[in-house]
């Protein structure tokens, strides 16, 4: 019988969160693409149009949650892909630290931009 083949620890929090964020992202990513390419064309995007969407609290919160979920899902995916390639020891700790800092930075920057877009 083959060994269990996955980089994720079975039953771990990261494993579960990766799947919960996946289910959320499937819906919101499809909505995001549809809204900004098919309902509104990206070429017609203006600050005023963006502000009209972003000042809606529900939309703002959805986009912030989208950013947090997307960042976690993507960065956790990258981290696990690197572990799959044999990352371990000190290198693993350094990579994790860099990825956590990059994630926090991305989320903070994104929320700052969203607040600016909303005009608050």
């Amino acid at each position: 019988m083959a060994e269990r083949y996955s980089s994720f620890a079975p039953g771990g929090t990261a494993w579960l969160l990766q799947r919960i964020t996946a289910a959320f992202l499937v819906v919101v990513l499809a909505f995001h693409f549809f809204l900004l390419h098919f309902v509104n064309h990206a070429a017609d995007v203006t600050f005023a149009g963006t502000q009209a969407r972003m000042e809606n609290v529900g939309y703002f919160l959805t986009m912030v949650l989208f950013l947090i979920a997307g960042t976690f899902h993507g960065v956790n995916g990258v981290y696990n892909a690197l572990i799959n390639q044999g990352l371990e020891g000190t290198q693993k700790k350094v990579v994790l630290a860099v990825l956590v800092i990059a994630s926090v930075g991305l989320i903070a920057q994104g929320i700052w931009v969203a607040i600016e877009m909303a005009g608050w």
């Binding site: 390419h37 990206a42 600050f47 995916g77 994104g110």
Partner: protein
Amino acid sequence: MSQSYNRGLIEDFGRWKEFSAGMWAWIFHKFTGWMLIGYLFTHIAVLSSALTGPEAYTNTIQGLESLFIIRVLEVGLLAVAVFHILNGLRLLMVDLGVGLEAQDKSFYASLILTGIIAVASVPTFMDGVTI
């Protein structure tokens, strides 16, 4: 009872000719995942032009959208995102143990559906731009 198969290491890309559908799905999912997280960082960087002011934001977006290459890359991004979504749904099903015996067929279906959606979106994405 669950079954498992030992197909050897997928990281050994030199064996690509021996790869099965599920292994290709794994590789495509990783590849599209790398593209999407890379794009997320780029996306937030571009949208940060809003911090300079409304005009800078509008000019940045409309300036980029006036470029043919950006439109081509957007179709590519859509294809990457659609595949990752469809194959991701397939993976959620696999995790739940649903339709395991059809996991190769659902991978092919993800690929075909991605192709159809990407091609169907071309007129929308290419609207109002020329080389």
